[in-house]
Every structure is written in C-alpha cells, then in structure tokens.
Symmetry: C2
Subunit: 489 residues, 2 copies
C-alpha cells in the first residue's frame, strides 16, 4: 500500500489524498460536486444527530422548503443578491426531447420556464416568502425552524468537504417579536456550534463577530467560529446571523405586536455544513492518515487477531469475546477484523489510515500471558497490558484521546497566534501562517488594502479581545480594538 504525501511536502495534496484514501469522499464527474462515501457519511450522520438533538433541546423543529427559488426572489434583498445570485445553478427548462436523428437527447426549447429557478444556495428568500403567510400576530412567534438540506454554490475552485459546488448542511431560520430576542437566538446558536466544535470535534475555535465586509449577505451582524488548520490557514466553521428586519422588509412580513401595532418581524439564520468534516481532518490528521476524535469516530476500537493457523484464530476469537461484549455494553463501537484474506500488517495500515482511535491486537503469546497489545492512534504509542482490566482502560483511554487531541490543537493554535504591532511584523507572520492579532482602524478601505497586499482577511472580531486604544499597523490611524487576521480557506 502506497503511503500518502507528507504534509510538509504538499499540504493540499496530503489533504486530497487522505480524504480519498481513507474512503471519506471523492470527486465526481459532475463539476465541483463530490461523492460522500459511506465512511465520510457515517461521520456526517454523527454530526447531524448530535446537532439535531441540541437544536431540539433548544426548542427548534425541522421542516423542509423547496430546493428551487424563483429568480425574482433573489432580487428582493439587495445585498443578498450580490452575495449569492452570481454563482448559481440556474434551471431554465423542464423537459428534454429526442434529437432529430433519434439517437440522443437534447433540451426541449419549447419547454422554457417563464421565470428561471435558482437551485438554493441558501434559503432565506424562499423561507421568508413562506413565513409571510404564517405570521399575523405576536402569538405566531417565535418560529424556530431548522432544515437539513443540500445546497449549491457554483464555486470555481473546489476542494473536497471544504468548498464544493454542492454540499450538505443545516440552516436554521427563526422569526421573532423583538430585536433582543433574535439577537439572543443568534448568540445561542453560535455558542452551540462552539461547544460542538470544541467538545465533539476537538477543534478549538475563536468565537466573535465578522467585520462588516465579511458579513453574510443580508445580515446586520454575523457571529462566527474560526479554527486554525495545521498549515496556518484559518477556516470558518460555522456562522449565525442576526438579520434584523432585512428579510421581513424584503418579503413584507409584518406582525401585530403586543401594543397592537404592525411591525416587521426580526430574524436570524445559522448554519454549519459538511465543511466541518474538512475542519476536523485538517486539524488532527497526520502523515499516517486520518486521526478521529473518539466522540465523532464511527468506529472506536478495532481488534486484530495475530495467528498462524485456524486453531489459533479460534482461540483468539474466544479470548476477545468478553472484551467485545464489555466494550459494547459501554456504548463503545468495536470491530473484530478476522478477515482471513488480509495480513495483520495490511490491517494495521488500513485502520491507521482510517483514524480508528484505538487498536487492540492479540496473538498466541498474549493468550499465554493474559495480555493484549493496545495502540493509540493519536500518539502512535503501543503497549502491552493485562487483559483483565482492558475494557475500563479503553474507556478511559478514549476520553484521554479526546482531551489530548483538543489540547494538541489548542497548543498548535497558541504557538501560531501572534500579537503584532508593526506592518513588517504583520506581513512576516501572515506569511508564516497563523492568527495575527493586530489593531485595525475600523475602515473597509484598510481591510481591503491589507487583503490586496497579503491575502489576509479579518477572520473574527473576537469576543475575548478587550477594547483598547492603539494604532493600525497598516494605515497608522487610531484603532479601538485588535482583531484577528489570517489567510483563510
């Protein structure tokens, strides 16, 4: 089995090879679209199930809105159309017919839609067009709806999971009586995302708001969580938007408030996507392959028998039965790989590539000595332990791996986070990669000029950074706060 490219050689190539070789996803013959393979989809199912439960605990329900959006809907919210309508898959016809020679098929020119439909890049417009009929009075509020769906954005440069023409996501769309309530909702959801990223994906993130030019098209405020990948680039992992009354105004959604007056409804939207899988891969994986945090791994433990003949395999099979049962009873997923067509060495490589957190192996000598070999994927450390307490040991080890991965990623981020005060320092650190914490004069002009010169953008105006007086290292103008710059995916 060929090894994958090393991160130090070519990080992009490493990532692409890893995603494909670990069986997570692959490019398809449809431009920019990926096939999510069963192992990758199993991770998405865990993400979905976990978040879905959190959404329901916080009072949300699921629904489903059409995939097509009439083109005119996009024109109704001025900024939204700028942000989304440009890179869009456009449905213009509704029928095919045989070619004149009868050998092929072609688009039937007689079946042209009166108004083209856009395949949804996000659903604010179709949803607010629907909410207009659902909302008359404050008694109809709040509406707390989430949708699990596919969306399409015609990206020119794609990368598996991180940026694809079609991707899977969830999009929450809520409607409220007051600005305060909507703002609290938007903050609540970014906090759920933060907690999920850090506690489940073991990816430390910085929480805060976007600068006006990086806001979602149509939002008043965009909350974001940003991670730092191993190549020093930032990745936006989830956003939650306070939309003010922008979409209510665009779609004329008013309600009778408690004072008996007609008022526009307040809105939020929030989403995370299959991109989270990319974030997790880029944060933890190494040159051996995938490294999965136990809380998201579809398979926690693999057990591999080492044997020379069927009798030995039989004895080992019996030997590990109590371990398998013990692990399952604790809710730990385990696979005993007794496939006789593959050598143990092949299996070791395969499960390493697939990022299974813990590997156990047992051979005839283990049976004699009542031991078992245990290998942890995160540190690549191996040891022999008495078999007696192995189930409890594995349970604790999985927790330890989860903690260790988070700590390792946090250490990495801290080592690659720089407070800079001069423009030379700024350029140097951006070039090296990492989060650069610098003063900003608050203008879009400076932000654009910095992006032009360094490809770095303001990733987040972080919650943890206090207001402080300072000087913008680029413009030399006064600044009231430091913000976080980085090059980003």
């Amino acid at each position: 089995m060929a090894t994958i490219t090393k991160r130090s050689e070519d990080y992009s190539k490493w990532y692409q090879e890893l995603v494909i070789r670990a069986g997570l996803a692959e490019p398809s013959d449809v431009r920019g679209c990926m096939v999510i393979k069963p192992y990758g989809y199993a991770i998405w199912e865990k993400i979905r199930d976990y978040l879905d439960a959190r959404f329901k605990e916080t009072g949300h329900v699921n629904a489903y809105f059409p995939i097509f959006i009439p083109m005119s809907f996009f024109a109704k919210e001025a900024k939204h159309v700028e942000g989304f309508a440009k890179e869009a898959a456009v449905v213009t016809h509704y029928r095919l017919k045989n070619t004149p020679d009868g050998k092929g098929i072609m688009v039937d020119p007689d079946a042209k839609l009166e108004e083209p439909y856009i395949v949804r890049p996000t659903s604010e417009t179709i949803i607010w067009n629907t909410y207009r009929n659902w909302i008359q009075s404050y008694r109809d509020l709040p509406i707390l709806i989430n949708q699990w769906a596919n969306v399409v954005r015609w990206e020119m440069r794609t990368r598996l999971f991180l940026r694809t023409a079609e991707f899977l996501w969830q999009e929450g769309h809520t409607a409220h009586e007051t600005a305060d309530e909507a703002l609290s909702e938007a903050k609540q959801m970014i906090e759920i995302y933060r907690e999920f990223a850090e506690n489940i994906l073991a990816v430390p993130v910085i929480s805060g708001v976007k600068s006006p030019s990086e806001r979602f098209a149509g939002a008043v405020e965009t909350f974001t969580i940003e991670g730092l990948m191993q190549d020093g680039k930032a990745l936006q992992m989830g956003t939650s938007h306070f939309l003010g009354q922008n979409f209510a105004k665009a779609f004329d959604v008013k309600f009778l408030n408690r004072q008996g007056q007609l008022e526009y409804v307040w809105a939020t939207s929030w989403g995370v996507s299959t991109r989270l899988i990319g974030a997790m891969i880029m944060t933890h994986s190494d040159d051996e392959g995938l490294v999965l945090p136990p809380k998201i791994a579809p398979l926690h433990v693999v057990i591999i028998p080492i044997y020379k003949n069927p009798e030995q395999l039989k004895a080992i099979t019996e030997y590990v039965q109590p371990i398998i049962k013990g692990l399952k009873d604790k809710g730990i997923t385990v696979k005993f790989d007794d496939d006789t067509s593959k050598k143990p060495g092949w299996k070791y490589n395969e499960y390493e590539l697939k990022g299974v957190p813990v590997r156990l192996a047992a051979g005839p000598r283990d049976l004699e000595k009542q031991t078992i070999e245990i290998y942890r994927r995160d540190t690549l450390e191996k040891q022999f332990l008495p078999v007696a307490n192995i189930v409890d040991y594995v349970e604790k080890l999985l927790d330890e791996i989860q903690q260790n991965l988070y700590k390792k990623a946090l250490d990495f981020r801290e080592k690659h986070t720089y407070y800079v005060n001069t423009w030379d320092e700024f350029k140097e650190k951006i070039e090296q990669g990492g989060f650069v914490i610098a003063h900003w004069d608050g203008t879009a002009e400076t932000e654009a000029a910095i992006k032009e010169q360094t490809k770095a953008t303001i990733r987040v105006i972080a919650d943890f950074l206090p207001e402080e007086e300072g000087t913008d290292p680029f413009s030399g103008k006064p600044s009231k706060q430091r913000v976080i710059f980085a090059r980003a995916y």
Copy 2:
C-alpha cells in the same frame, strides 16, 4: 374554526384541506413543490429513523451522490431515458448578472454549461457511473448503499405528498456478484417495505410484481407494494427493482468473478418517499381530520385541563404530573396543553384535526372522584376511568388503536376487492372503485386497451394469487393467472 370538506362531498378537496389544516404541508410558490411543515416533517423523521435502522440491520450503509446528472448519462440506458429524462428540471447556466438597467437580475448568457445537467429524478446513472471505479473483483462486492435525498420530477398535475415536483425519499443501490443474490436483495427490501407499511403505518398492502409495462424504466423485474385508499383508488407505496445487468452494461461496470472471468455486475434499486405520508393519511383519516397510527404519531397523548380559575389549573396540573411521568417512562410522548389563551373546545378540535391518538381531560370533578376522561381518536369514543391505572390503560390502548386501524383498513380493502369474470362486471367494479382481481391474457395490448377504456391499470401481479387457467374478460383469450387491476394515484 371552520370544519373541513367531507370525504363524501369531495374526496380530493377533503385531502388537500386536511393536509394543510393539520399543518402537515402546503403548496409553495415554486411550481409543484411543497413546503413540508414541522408536523409533517416530524412524521417523515419517524419514517426515516425506522427504515434507516432496518436498512442498517440488513447490512446497508448510507452515502451521498451529486444532485446533478450530466444529460449524456441518461442517454446510456435506453429505457431509462424514456422513463425519466422527459419530465426533468434542466440546469443550463451557472451564473446570473445584473440587467442592463442595473435594476434587476437575469441569466448570464455567457455562462452556459457545455453539457446541461439534470436535477436527479433518480440516481441509478450517476451511481453506476461511480461504481465503475469502485468495483474490480468479486472481493469488492456486494456494495449495499442507501441514500436519503431530494429528487425532482417535473409532474404536470401535483398533489401534496402523493405527487410533487420535488420530494424526499431514500434510494438503495446495490451491486452483486450473481443474479440470485441481487434478486434476493430486491425481495428482501420489498419485504421490509411491506412490514413497515403494515406494522408501523397500519396500511395493509398487496405485495407482488409489476407487469412489464408498469416496470421501473431499466428494470428486469419490479416488486411493489400497493395500498387501497378510501376512495377506492390504489396507491403504489414502494418499489424494489431487480435491474439485472442493465446499468452495469450501460456504464461498463465489470468485475473479475470467482472463476477469473470478467462479468457485468448485477444490480438492484429500491425506494420509498414522502408519498408514504399521503398513503397513511388517505387510509386512516376521517371527516374530523387526521388519524395517526400510534407507532408513527409524533405525539401520542395530549392532556387538557378543564378549569375556571388559576387555583383549579394549579390543582389539575399537580393531579396529572404522575400521569405525565408514567407515560414518559414508558416512552410515550405526551403534551400537557395548559395554554391559557385557548378554550378546551378549541383544543379538542385542534388535536382531533391533528390526529393525536389519545386525549385525556381532567377537571375539578375528576379530582374529587379520582377519575379522568379518556378519548380515542380512531373510534371517537369517550369514557371516564379511575385515574389510578390510567398509564397502563393508555399503553394498552395505544396498541389497540394501532391494531384497530390496521384491521379497519384491511376490512375496507376486503370489502372493496372483487373477483370478476366478465367485462361488464369488470367495468362496473372499476367504476365503483377498489381492487379488481381478473384474468389477464398477458399481453401489453390488452393491458393498454383496458387502461384506455377504464383508466384502470395492472397494479400488481400479487404473490398470493396462484397460477390458474382462465379467460381474459376483455380479450377472451386464455389466461394463466389473475392479476389486480385498479385506478391509481
């Protein structure tokens, strides 16, 4: 609250009003597409979770393939293109731009795709195009993949849940070494559908195969389950296809078999959709509204307090707490509706409309007498019972309602199933509505002529009907078996 149209007045109108008024779904402003509202989506989630577990128990895994299919893929399987490519949403462009006056947006004529994409009506083509790269040898088989997805078929006449331009479904696509194995898979899946329809949705179905002209476009054999709705029309509720080697040949998917020879791969596909929700509504509901089988109802029990002042409400709230806890402990979902802005009568109507299987109500006199009022949605019967054993009673009642709904639907079907031997009888019974079991000479010509004259089609060549000699009532030609005719949705 206005009542809904009665079934006897206008069955179609009754159905449409019921779906909307019960909050299950509604038409959208996108032609033929529906909005699935939270209550309807909650039912879909239960369908999905149940079936997903059954698919996984039988060795299947989930994956995700692109929503777009290059037009040329459809042309590769001759029958498939006839069946699906005609009514299709066609993506021809990938960008919009501002109109010359700057006030609106338009499709950018410079952004025309070289090859149009079809929004998937079903995914055999894109999946078999992918499987070609996954399969080299018998060791790569079987592939047992399922996909949960949205699909689009440009239907001209739509009806909520039953036939919409976009709908949600699952589609299984499996690849096998042998014809036998693929055939067993196709049969296994239709059996899972049958068991689900009957045991969970409480809808009795007839299982069997389709006549050649009713087969899935590209299938060698199509297995089906057919239900009978209250208006005497049949509804196809799920199909499972043995595809032979048709798609493997179309997409050149060969494998090295155990004899070392290259062979085309054998295939199945199978699916059920949000149509199942329509089937369930049409089977059980009545003029009062929705009737939900307990196994699929998002809410099993509603408790309504009858009170005149806050003290009474407080006392009733305390009174029902042990009931709520007891029901929840048994996994029964329960809602205590203490909304003070609505009268009990309004609530009674609302939960009746929504088909909640059991309603409990308690007032001051119940507290005195230690009783509770219990009302079952299926029979509309009300009684007062001692509160002491109410939790156990409700648990048993839910089972009884589930059984009763199935039995009632089965009785209905049996009363509307006719063995006919003459053409006059045939026409009469088809006109009355129901399943008509008649001999068929086995020709597509007769089948087409019968459809032309009566609008009835062969729904299913049922497993339960034995081979027997007879005469086709239409053509007078000899027949080897009876088949089931009906008008259908």
